[in-house]
């Protein structure tokens, strides 16, 4: 695995800088909560369903508390108090609030310790459910096995959960190892999570708990049939990151798109909001044994892949540190990486290979999320299939582990069943045909590939130095990632950020920091 002979001290130094940067933001995180974090905590306690107007009960309760200015103590403080006062379940409390039967803010308040104890018990019970699902995954994998690396990751995106299930099963039968159910355009900006099975998405299907369940069942079924555990992926980003993490943990998703900054940069979500949300969502993902996928690949859709390669590496190091602060382990970090160099660039493949090898060596224990060409794909599906083939070649040559399949129709539509079929077939052919190529070749010590890798590492560390100086929020304001500028107080969702008060109650945080591994 050590082909580039990188300066290990430089890597250590880069990590230190990234650690400083993340800890700088962590102060803000530790001082705040958000409506979505609080809704997620309720969901973890089992609050589910919608009111008569279709508003999720979690939203109803949090809106009531927020309007009353009570969220600074944490929603659990109030809800658990109601549980104690009324001898109801959290779900019954939420229902009561929605019905107008319970005036949650005006109930008598139990002694602090009593509330905390009860909250702790409820949280522990909730977490034991998540640990159960985690062990279930581990057992199924032990029993059935899973795909061999590079694991083949495909998307389904029909917009209809039932059609998605059909396609997901077909894909697994063809050889896919990981199925991502793409989310409808626009959901990330909704400040609530839609409810129930859905059939009307655009470019993807709504992420709802019912949809997660339907797809989990479909994949468990096909996994048994073909004797391979199939991973299920969804999107844990946008204004509801923490809630989606909660839903995913309970429904045994295996992979979540979950970045510390993607929503800020690509969805214009307020950064103060996202930083707090990403923390709680990653605590959950980490605890549930879910692999997260970060979003650096997206930077290269707006910035140039050759010029901005170092921004990807710098961001990966920051994302890693944020994840470590949530107790995540390296093997849960699918860091975003992409094959986005203009196909006209002479020796473009050498640049790609250098970058792919570089991330493998800087993050030897992380399953890089290795992303295909998208930006330079065109309506010429035949040429596109060739671009995807070189991507497949680069993956196997650099020993990647999570391999998102490119689709020949990338520039046209979300994948048709035959697009996915052809792409899986192509990838399997390449992987089998070149299986041990990586072990056969080495790179010229004074060659282009090594030189390029060293250059990108140097530039990334230099960028981290600059970010460390100004702080991450200012770096985002400067447009240092993806060439997109975001103001610290701009974007959507800032209203949902609440300063924690003394006595803020959220037992999930300390409990989850202990880790969800089998004890």
């Amino acid at each position: 695995m050590n082909k580039l002979n990188l300066d290990q001290e430089k890597i250590v130094y880069g990590r230190q800088l990234a650690g400083n940067i993340a800890r700088g933001v962590q102060q803000h995180i530790d001082a705040h909560t958000t409506v979505s974090v609080e809704r997620a905590a309720l969901r973890l306690l089992g609050v589910d369903g919608v009111d008569s107007a279709g508003v999720p009960l979690a939203n109803v309760v949090i809106d009531v508390l927020n309007q009353a200015g009570l969220l600074g103590r944490g929603a659990l403080y109030w809800v658990v108090n109601a549980v104690l006062q009324l001898s109801l379940t959290p779900q019954q409390v939420a229902q009561g609030v929605a019905d107008g039967a319970i005036a949650i803010a005006r109930l008598p308040v139990a002694p602090e310790q009593e509330i905390a104890d009860m909250a702790g018990n409820l949280a522990e019970a909730a977490l034991s459910r998540i640990r159960y699902r985690r062990r279930e995954r581990e057992q199924l994998i032990a029993e059935l096995g899973k795909g061999s690396e590079p694991m083949i990751y495909v998307i389904v995106a029909t917009g209809n959960v039932y059609e998605d299930a059909v396609q997901a099963q077909a894909a697994a039968r063809q050889g896919a190892d990981i199925i991502a159910v793409i989310r409808t355009t626009g959901q990330s900006l909704l400040d609530y999570v839609p409810y129930g099975p859905t059939t009307t998405g655009f470019g993807g299907t709504y992420a709802t708990q019912a949809n997660f369940r339907i797809l989990r069942e479909a994949l468990d079924e096909v996994g048994q049939e073909i004797g391979r555990y199939i991973y299920l992926t969804n999107y844990c980003s946008g204004l509801c990151m923490p809630e989606i993490a909660a839903m995913g943990a309970v429904e045994r998703l295996d992979v979540m798109l979950n970045d510390s900054m993607y929503g800020v940069i690509f969805r214009d979500i307020n950064m103060k909001r996202t930083f707090v949300d990403q923390y709680f969502s990653r605590l959950i993902n980490g605890y549930a044994g879910i692999i997260i996928n970060t979003g650096e690949d997206n930077y290269l859709t707006t910035a140039d892949a050759v010029e901005s390669a170092h921004t990807v590496l710098a961001s990966e190091l920051i994302n890693e540190q944020f994840a470590f602060l949530c107790g995540m382990k390296p093997d849960q970090l699918g860091l975003g990486h992409a094959f986005e160099i203009d196909p006209q660039v002479p020796n473009g493949f050498l640049y790609e290979l250098a970058q792919a090898q570089l991330v493998r060596e800087v993050f030897p224990d992380c399953p890089i999320k290795y992303m295909p060409p998208t930006k330079y794909m065109t309506g010429n599906i035949f040429r596109g299939h060739v671009q995807d083939t070189l991507f497949n070649v680069c993956s196997v040559m650099s020993g990647q582990s999570i391999h998102l399949l490119g689709m020949l129709t990338e520039a046209i539509h979300t994948p048709l069943i035959q697009d996915r079929f052809l792409s899986i077939q192509a990838a399997k052919y390449v992987f089998n045909n070149m299986r041990d190529l990586a072990g056969e070749i080495s790179f010229r010590p004074d060659g282009f590939i090594r030189g390029r890798a060293v250059q990108v590492l140097d530039e990334a560390v230099a960028l981290l130095e600059r970010i460390d100086e100004v702080g991450l929020m200012q770096a985002l304001a400067n447009g240092w990632f993806a060439e997109i500028k975001r103001a610290p107080d701009g974007g959507k969702g800032l209203g949902g950020v609440i300063r924690r008060e003394a006595g803020y109650l959220n037992p999930f945080i300390p409990l989850m920091l202990q880790g969800g591994e089998s004890r």
Partner: protein, 255 residues
């Protein structure tokens, strides 16, 4: 090779052979009958000598086919009418000159990806200084005041901004087209502008990889631009339309 333009046929390796390639999936298991059905589907398209050259199971419920066949019904190319926004592409200097001369003030151009669409690379390519493929964007035009609102802009917000900046033109980008979401979004905006009484006061232009001028017209827009559009195309269209508008206002052609 003497091509008969009144009856253009696909060309495989011999003039007039009409060869086309097709591929598709059938939602049934692979079988002899399914393969024959695939052939009949092609025949049903009026194709001759349809040969299913490949048939493969995708799963036990789907099967994939590759077909080659001969198309006999040509198209009369001499009668094809292409609907394109405008023909003469002006140089940047000409555009600026025209605005300076005839309008006497900067042209206010507002751009956005509306509603659920967050694909800004296309509208950025048209509007931002940097432009695309070496073609500078509208921001680089001295006489254009280009305001790019970016991604996922609600129609309401766009209209507010249009009032605020006294927009002469509104440029919309729509990239996601699944289940015709772009049609829904574009119709919504057109209706809202109409309702506000703004529709006649602005030039309304839409672009995106699946947008054609024809579709734009159908949806009540003044123009539509597809792939490979650059700022100069849009700018040229805007000033040429403006010219006509000004001419109408003055009751006759201006020059």
């Amino acid at each position: 090779m003497n091509v008969d333009l009144t009856k253009i046929l696909p060309y495989g390796d011999t003039l007039g052979d009409g060869i086309v390639q097709l591929s598709f999936t059938l939602p049934v298991a692979l079988s002899g009958a399914a393969k024959e059905a695939a052939r009949q589907l092609a025949a049903g398209m009026g194709l001759e000598e349809a040969a299913v050259v490949h048939a493969e199971a995708i799963s036990d419920r789907f099967s994939f086919y590759v077909v080659y066949a001969k198309c006999r019904q040509g198209v009369d190319l001499t009668r094809v009418v292409v609907s394109e926004a405008n023909t003469t592409v002006l140089a940047k200097a000409e555009v600026d000159e025209f605005i300076r001369q005839r309008l006497g003030r900067k042209l206010n151009v507002l751009g956005a990806c509306i509603e659920s669409d967050a694909h800004t690379v296309g509208i950025d390519a048209i509007m931002n200084m940097k432009g695309f493929n070496g073609h500078k964007g509208l921001e680089s035009y001295h006489e254009i005041n280009a305001i790019n609102m970016g991604a996922q802009v609600a129609c309401e917000e766009l209209i507010r901004k249009a009032y605020e900046h006294q927009a002469d033109a509104i440029l919309i980008s729509q990239v996601v087209t699944q289940k015709n979401i772009h049609v829904t979004n574009l119709t919504k905006l057109a209706d809202m502008l109409e309702a506000e009484g703004l529709r006649d006061k602005v030039l309304l232009v839409v672009g995106g990889p699946r947008i054609s001028h024809e579709l734009a017209k159908e949806l009540g827009y003044d123009a539509g631009f597809g792939p490979n559009t650059y700022a100069e195309h849009v700018a040229s269209f805007l000033v040429q339309e403006l010219k006509e508008k000004l001419a109408e206002q003055n009751g006759g052609p201006l020059n």
